[in-house]
C-alpha cells in the first residue's frame, strides 16, 4: 500500500530538506565572508546558495504534500498553512509551518530583490536566522520516536556546521573594506541631531 510509502517519504524529504537548508545557510554565510580560492570563484558560492535554496523549497513541498495526503496523520491542508492548527503534535508541527512560510517569504523576496530594493531584501533575509532554528526544532520535536538516533546524528551535524559558520561570521568583523573609514567620515559630517 502507498500509505506507508507516503509516511516514509515525508520523513525522508523532511530530513533531506533540513540538510539542504543547513547547506544553504552555510553557503550564504560563506558568500558574506567572501570565501574564494583558485577553482572556487565567489559566484560559485552565491550560485550554489541560490540553487540549493530553490531545491530546498522543492523537497519541503514534497515533505508537506506527502504528510498532508497521508491518511494516517489526518493533517489536512489547513495545518500546512496555519501554524498550530493541527491536532497532531500541534506545537512541533506549528514550528515547521512557520519555518516553511518564513523560507517561502525569504526565497520569494530574493527573486524580486531588484524591485523591493537592497535594504528591504537584506532585512527580510535576516529572517533566515529565525527560520533555520524553527526547522531544526520542528525536526527534533516531530522526529523524537524510534529512529531519532539517526535524526539526532543528522541534526547534530547540521547544527554544528551552521553554528560554526555563524560563530565565525560574527567573530570576524565586516568584510566591506570601506566600512570603518566610511562610518568615521559619515560621523564627521552627520548633522542629524536637532540644530
Amino acid at each position: 500500500m502507498n500509505n506507508s510509502v507516503l509516511w516514509y517519504t515525508t520523513r525522508g524529504a523532511g530530513a533531506v530538506s533540513l540538510v539542504l537548508l543547513s547547506a544553504v545557510v552555510v553557503l550564504g554565510i560563506l558568500s558574506v565572508l567572501r570565501v574564494q580560492t583558485t577553482g572556487w570563484p565567489r559566484f560559485l558560492t552565491v550560485g550554489l546558495h541560490r540553487n540549493l535554496a530553490l531545491m530546498t523549497l522543492v523537497f519541503l513541498t514534497l515533505h508537506i504534500v506527502t504528510a498532508v495526503v497521508d491518511p494516517f496523520t489526518h493533517l489536512g491542508w489547513l495545518a500546512a498553512v496555519v501554524p498550530f492548527s493541527s491536532y497532531y503534535r500541534t506545537f512541533w508541527l506549528g514550528l515547521g509551518t512557520i519555518a516553511f512560510e518564513l523560507l517561502l517569504a525569504i526565497v520569494l523576496t530574493s527573486l524580486v530583490r531588484g524591485f523591493i530594493g537592497q535594504a528591504a531584501w537584506r532585512l527580510l533575509h535576516w529572517l533566515t536566522y529565525a527560520a533555520w532554528p524553527f526547522a531544526v526544532l520542528h525536526g527534533v520535536g516531530t522526529g523524537t520516536d524510534a529512529w531519532s538516533a539517526w535524526l539526532f546524528t543528522l541534526q547534530a551535524f547540521c547544527v554544528i556546521a551552521v553554528l560554526a559558520a555563524i560563530g565565525y561570521r560574527f567573530m570576524t568583523g565586516s568584510r566591506d573594506p570601506l566600512a570603518d573609514a566610511r562610518s568615521s567620515f559619515q560621523g564627521a559630517v552627520d548633522r542629524r541631531e536637532p540644530r
Partner: protein
C-alpha cells in the same frame, strides 16, 4: 597585472566555475532524491516491528529514486499498522 590574470584566463576560469556549479547542483539534486529514499528506508527500518532484511537490501541497492521507494514498499504490511501506532502513540 600578473600573467595569470589575462582576460582569456579569466574567461576560462569563469567557464570552469559555471560547469562546476552545474555539476554540484545536479549532484546535490540526485543525492537529495536518493537521500529521501535512504532516510525513508532508515525510518522504516528503525520503526519497531519492521522486517530488517528489506531495508538492508534497500539501503544497499539505493542507487536511484525507484530503488529507495521500492524498498520501503516491501515492509508495508508489517509497518503500516505500526505506522498507525507511531502516529497514534505519539499523539
Amino acid at each position: 597585472m600578473e600573467p595569470k590574470d589575462t582576460p582569456h584566463a579569466r574567461v576560462r576560469a569563469r567557464d570552469a566555475g559555471m560547469r562546476l556549479l552545474t555539476r554540484l547542483t545536479t549532484g546535490a539534486a540526485v543525492s537529495a532524491v536518493i537521500g529521501v529514499g535512504l532516510f525513508g528506508a532508515v525510518s522504516a527500518y528503525t520503526i519497531p516491528g519492521t522486517a530488517t532484511t528489506s531495508t538492508i537490501t534497500s539501503s544497499s541497492s539505493s542507487t536511484s529514486t525507484s530503488a529507495g521507494l521500492q524498498s520501503s514498499t516491501t515492509p508495508v504490511t508489517s509497518s503500516s499498522s505500526s505506522g498507525v501506532a507511531v502516529s497514534g502513540g505519539s499523539r
